[in-house]
């Protein structure tokens, strides 16, 4: 973790639910620090405790043990009024949307502003802007019951952004959205993060989302933090079974076990049809192995990443790395791999 003071810190947080069949430990000994401006991903299998974790952050679920520090203050020790003040700075998008069924979309988005005491006209203006951002201007006066699943989710997103929060928590905020809309929402979050330095905590099942916008990621497994760190580190080199299962649901690329050295190539907008790997083979005579790739073209420019397994021969490998690094609009970094 970075040396800055984290904006959110979970200290030894645990949460146990009482149920008919006995106790259920949903979280146990969770220690997480999230720095201001981070986009922090939370992944894990269904039932791993992700929702419980974010619900513990704003104390919707009071942790059974441990404490939650927000902006240097212990939320668990606050008076109700102080807690409310802090909560206004932490927005949340719920897995089940939780829209007010008796309010129109516009009024739903106005809701957090109403609570914060924003003037009615100002709130309305801002809400209309947000409606436009999520592409639902025409639904301003519709009620949630008249919306499709994805539309509800977009209203929930707009509502969460309405109060200009310091922290935005998204519990599967794009699961009901088509890829295009997902991308535009993610771009929006990234943009707000860049411009306003908002901190975001994102629960998702789509690894692509994590790779695309998160700076850090925590992997939950059975209520415990299995791995936590920078996305590049965790994704290129998952240490635990839990992480591997998520990042490579079909099993680890076998080449991880064969190649000594792995390189991640990121295309930063160069022309994708420059046949990099083929050129590499022809120009340097080096055969590299594509372990996985996810590349797309935007307006004639290539974006995305590719994992390359280098030949075992050190010289050939070196040659290949050097060749790749010479390319325009491509960054390459070697990824560590440990045999555990």
């Amino acid at each position: 973790m970075s040396s800055e003071k984290p904006i959110i810190e979970l200290r030894d947080v645990g949460k146990t639910f009482q149920s008919a069949d006995g106790e259920l430990v949903a979280l146990e000994g969770v220690n997480i620090g999230i720095d201001e401006g981070d986009i922090f991903g939370v992944i894990g299998m269904s039932g791993a405790g992700k929702s419980t974790l974010v619900r513990c952050i704003n104390l919707l679920e009071r942790p059974t043990t441990g404490s939650v520090i927000f902006d240097g203050q212990d939320l668990t020790a606050m008076t109700p009024a102080e807690l409310r003040a802090s909560r206004r700075e932490i927005s949340m998008i719920f897995q089940q949307f939780n829209l007010l069924m008796q309010r129109t979309c516009l009024k739903n988005i106005c809701f957090p502003m109403e609570i914060a005491g924003v003037k009615s006209e100002d709130a309305k203006k801002r809400a209309m802007e947000l409606l436009e951002i999520v592409g639902l201007q025409d639904k301003a006066n519709a009620y949630p019951a008249q919306l499709s699943g994805g539309q509800k989710q977009r209203i929930a997103i707009a509502r969460a952004l309405a109060s200009d929060p310091k922290v935005l928590m998204c519990d599967e905020a794009t699961s009901a959205l088509d890829p295009t809309t997902t991308r535009s929402i993610l771009a929006l979050i990234k943009d707000i993060n860049d411009r306003l330095g908002i901190t975001a905590i994102i629960i998702t099942h789509e690894m692509a989302v994590i790779e695309e916008i998160c700076s850090h990621v925590a992997i939950l497994d059975g209520g415990r933090v299995a791995e936590i760190g920078r996305v590049e580190d965790i994704f290129s080199n998952p240490q635990t079974e839990a992480a591997r299962k998520l990042v490579y649901p079909d099993g680890m690329p076998v080449s991880f076990l064969k190649s000594e050295r792995v390189v991640r190539i990121a295309f930063n907008g160069g022309s994708s049809y420059e046949p990099l790997i083929a050129s590499l083979a022809i120009d340097c005579g080096v055969k590299v192995n594509i372990l996985g790739a996810d590349t797309r073209n935007v307006g004639g420019k290539a974006f995305g990443t590719m994992l390359i397994g280098l030949p075992n021969d050190p010289d050939e490998a070196e040659k290949a790395v050097a060749y790749i690094c010479r390319q325009r609009d491509v960054t390459c970094e070697e990824v560590e791999y440990s045999h555990d």
């Binding site: 409310r84 007010l100 609570i115």
Partner: protein, 241 residues
């Protein structure tokens, strides 16, 4: 038929109608409406408190206070209205300045009705989706904001149909106005139906009561359906036809 209209019974009924009917309709309406209104002013907050004040409600109040509230409501719910009315007469004297007549009915009616309303409101509010309350909490809404902007509006359809129920019930209590010299359609029905056997008057009064309840009940149902934004089907279909 002409015979009927010349009969003594009819003549007498007409006499009674001329003398009292308008006034009795008016007394029924105003005493019921005013009582319902005031009973809501007391009962609504109490009903809210019964839900919001729970240990895990949005505005927890001390357990003993909660229990006390419950007991008081149960007491008022269990004292027979007749007794309640007589016990409450001093209050009537204090508030409306008289222990007799229709105005004197209003304080006892309120006292009898607000606990009933509190329970109705309680039952409606319990149906509010926990998720939206949590959403409001996560936004840092105060308990009062949650109550005013989430719980009550979300439960509106149920609250409205409860109000129609309460209105009819209070009107029913009002029929006992006769005991303390009050008037109204219920009194008319009982007085002429039970004691005087002028059945024309009795049935006229009963029919008017039915009409009043019918009006309020269907207005209530319509409003409840209209205010329900969760089910858009009904209104939709109605419109299409």
């Amino acid at each position: 038929m002409t015979e009927f209209f010349q009969s003594e019974l009819w003549q007498e009924a007409v006499k009674i109608f001329e003398a009292e009917l308008i006034s009795d309709i008016w007394q029924t309406i105003y005493s019921t409406v005013l009582s319902t209104l005031f009973a809501y002013i007391i009962g609504l907050p109490l009903g809210v408190l019964l839900v919001a004040g729970e240990e895990d409600g949005v505005m927890p109040i001390p357990r003993w206070l909660m229990n006390a509230l419950n007991v008081v409501i149960n007491i008022l719910r269990s004292v027979p209205f007749l007794i309640l009315m007589i016990i409450a007469l001093p209050l009537s004297r204090f508030i409306v300045g008289s222990g007799i007549g229709t105005p004197a009915m209003i304080p006892p009616l309120i006292i009898a009705a607000f606990p009933f309303i509190a329970r109705l409101v309680e039952s409606s509010l319990r149906e509010t989706d926990r998720g939206v309350i949590e959403a409001a909490q996560s936004m840092g809404a105060t308990p009062m904001q949650i109550i005013r902007k989430v719980m009550l509006p979300e439960a509106m359809p149920s609250l409205i149909s409860g109000a129609a129920l309460a209105f009819a019930t209070i009107m029913g209590y009002g029929a006992m106005a006769g005991i303390i010299g009050g008037r109204g359609l219920g009194f008319l029905a009982i007085n002429y139906g039970l004691y005087r056997k002028i059945w024309i008057v009795k049935w006229a009064a009963v029919i008017l009561l039915v009409v009043l309840v019918q009006i309020f009940q269907s207005a209530g149902t319509k409003l409840a359906v209209k205010s329900d934004k969760r089910i858009t089907q009904i209104t939709k279909r109605r419109k299409t036809r």
